[in-house]
C-alpha cells in the first residue's frame, strides 16, 4: 500500500472535524474489506485514512421513534445474530449471509457496503425494498436521505467528501413487512452477485399493497422495478400475476454482458429472482396472518 497518515478519532465529532480538515484527500476506513483492497491498488496515496471502526456511535441496532436504527458500523455478522433484526426484518439476515465469506462478514459493515456503492452490493436490494432511509453527518450538521437518492452511480453516492454515513433507518411502518431476498452467484461463498433481488409487500383483504421490488447488479445502481410493482399494486393475490410481474421486471433492468454471465442469462435470473422473492414474501405474509 502507498504510505498514508492514519487517524483514529475517539468520537464521531472528532471524526467529522478530521474529515473537514483533510477532505478531499481522505478515506474513511471501517471494516476495510473493500477499502483496503482498493487502497492496495491505487496509483496515488489517499493522503489520510480515518479509522472509524472503533466509534461506538456507529454501532448498535435499536428501535427508535422513526423505526429500526442500524448503525453504519454494524458488521454483517452482527446483523445475522441480532434479535431485533430477526424479529422485524429477517430478510436482512439472508442478505447479510450472502456477503463474502465468514471472514468478510466479521469485518465488513452495512454502512461500508452501501457507501462503496457497487451495483452488485448484497445489502442494497432488501433495504431499498423496505424504503430505508440513511442519516448523514457532516460539518454542517445532519441530513436525512432516502436510499434511492443516496445511490448515484457505480461507486458514487450522494455523500460529500466531508460527510459520514451515520445510520440506516428502516421506517416504523415497514417493520415486520413480509420481505424476501435472493442472490445468484457463481458459487455460494466469495462470489459477486450476478443478480440480486428483494421483494416486500403487504396483503390486505387478499390484495397486494405497498409492493416493492428491488434489483441489484442489473443496472448502474440498485434499482426498483416500479412497473412490476405497479402491476401488482391493489390487485387480488394470484400466482399468474406474480409471474407476469416477474416478466415485466426483466424489461426494467439493463444487465451487463461479461465473463461472469451473459446478458440473456442475467435476464432469466431477474425473472426467476423476482418471482421467487415475491412468492416468498407472499408466503411469509400468509404465515403472519
Amino acid at each position: 500500500m502507498k504510505p498514508f497518515d492514519f487517524i483514529q478519532p475517539a468520537t464521531i465529532d472528532a471524526a467529522i472535524l478530521a474529515l473537514a480538515e483533510y477532505s478531499p484527500n481522505v478515506r474513511i476506513l471501517n471494516g476495510g474489506t473493500d477499502c483496503l483492497v482498493e487502497l492496495k491498488h491505487v496509483a496515488q496515496s489517499p493522503g489520510v485514512v480515518i479509522d472509524v471502526s472503533r466509534l461506538q456511535g456507529l454501532k448498535g441496532i435499536e428501535i427508535v421513534d422513526a423505526g429500526l436504527r442500524i448503525g453504519a458500523g454494524v458488521t454483517h455478522t452482527e446483523i445475522m445474530a441480532d434479535p431485533l433484526i430477526k424479529e422485524h426484518v429477517p430478510a436482512m439476515i439472508d442478505a447479510a449471509h450472502t456477503v463474502g465469506a465468514v471472514q468478510t462478514r466479521n469485518l465488513g459493515t452495512l454502512g461500508g457496503n452501501l457507501v462503496t456503492c457497487v451495483p452488485s452490493m448484497d445489502s442494497g436490494p432488501t433495504l431499498l425494498a423496505l424504503d430505508a432511509d440513511v442519516t448523514i453527518l457532516g460539518a454542517k450538521g445532519t441530513r436525512q436521505s432516502s436510499l434511492t437518492d443516496f445511490f448515484v452511480a457505480p461507486r458514487k453516492t450522494s455523500l460529500e467528501p466531508d460527510e459520514l454515513l451515520l445510520e440506516i433507518i428502516i421506517p416504523k411502518e415497514n417493520l415486520g413487512k413480509p420481505a424476501s431476498f435472493i442472490k445468484f452467484g457463481l458459487r455460494k461463498g466469495q462470489a459477486l452477485a450476478l443478480v440480486n433481488a428483494a421483494s416486500a409487500l403487504w396483503v390486505e383483504g387478499n390484495k397486494f399493497k405497498d409492493v416493492r421490488i428491488a434489483l441489484g447488479a442489473v443496472a448502474p445502481v440498485v434499482i426498483r422495478a416500479s412497473k412490476a410493482e405497479a402491476l401488482l399494486e391493489g390487485q387480488s393475490v394470484s400466482e399468474g400475476l406474480i409471474q407476469e410481474a416477474a416478466k415485466i421486471a426483466v424489461g426494467e433492468a439493463k444487465p451487463i454482458d461479461d465473463f461472469r454471465a451473459s446478458k440473456e442469462y442475467r435476464n432469466d435470473l431477474i425473472e426467476v429472482g423476482t418471482r421467487r422473492t415475491l412468492q416468498a414474501a407472499l408466503g411469509a405474509s400468509n404465515i403472519q396472518s
Partner: protein, 166 residues
C-alpha cells in the same frame, strides 16, 4: 511509524510499523508469526485467517493499527508443549493438508466455527469454510478433519446423512 501493541496468543507484543502495514504483515514480518500465509492479499483465499477477539478475519484486510490492543490468536497459539490441539490433530490424522499452505487459515476458521458453541451440520461447515480456498482441492479431507475435531471437542455427533434412496 506508529507503535502498535497486540496481544498475540496471550502475550503482549509491540512493534513500530508504518501506518499502512496490514495486521498480516506485522504478524509475519515484525513479530515473526509466519504461520499465517499471504495467498492473494485481497481477502479471497483465507490463507491469512486469524482470530481477532474470537472472530475469524482476513489479516490481510485489517490494518495493524485497527487491531491495536486486541487479542489475536494465530495458528502458533493453538497447541502447547503439553497439549496437541484437537483440530490440528484431526487435520493430521485424516491427511487434510497436502501442500499445507491453506492449512493454518483452514484450522483457524474451523476454530472459530467450533468456538461458536452451536450445533453444526455438514452444510454449516461448508458455509464456514467458503472463504478458505484449497488448490490441492482436498476439501473432502478437510471437511472430514473439521467433523472429527468438532466431535472430539464438543462431544456431539454430527447429524448423519441419509444415503440416497436407490
Amino acid at each position: 511509524m506508529t507503535d502498535v501493541t497486540l496481544i498475540v496468543n496471550g502475550e503482549t507484543k509491540t512493534a513500530s510499523v508504518p501506518p499502512e502495514t496490514t495486521l498480516l504483515k506485522m504478524l509475519r514480518e515484525d513479530l515473526n508469526y509466519t504461520g499465517s500465509k499471504l495467498g492473494c492479499d485481497v481477502g479471497d483465499c483465507g490463507a491469512c485467517t486469524v482470530l481477532v477477539d474470537g472472530l475469524a478475519v482476513n489479516a490481510c484486510l485489517m490494518l495493524a493499527g485497527q487491531a491495536e490492543g486486541k487479542e489475536i490468536l494465530t495458528i502458533e497459539g493453538l497447541s502447547t508443549l503439553e497439549k496437541y490441539h484437537p483440530i490440528q490433530k484431526a487435520f493430521e490424522d485424516v491427511a487434510a493438508l497436502q501442500c499445507g499452505f491453506c492449512g493454518p487459515g483452514m484450522i483457524m476458521t474451523t476454530k472459530a466455527l467450533i468456538d461458536q458453541d452451536e450445533d453444526v451440520t455438514r452444510q454449516n461447515i461448508k458455509d464456514a469454510l467458503s472463504g478458505n480456498l484449497c488448490r490441492c482441492t482436498g476439501y473432502t479431507k478437510i471437511i472430514e478433519g473439521v467433523i472429527d475435531a468438532y466431535q472430539e471437542i464438543t462431544g456431539k455427533k454430527l447429524p448423519e446423512i441419509k444415503p440416497r434412496a436407490a
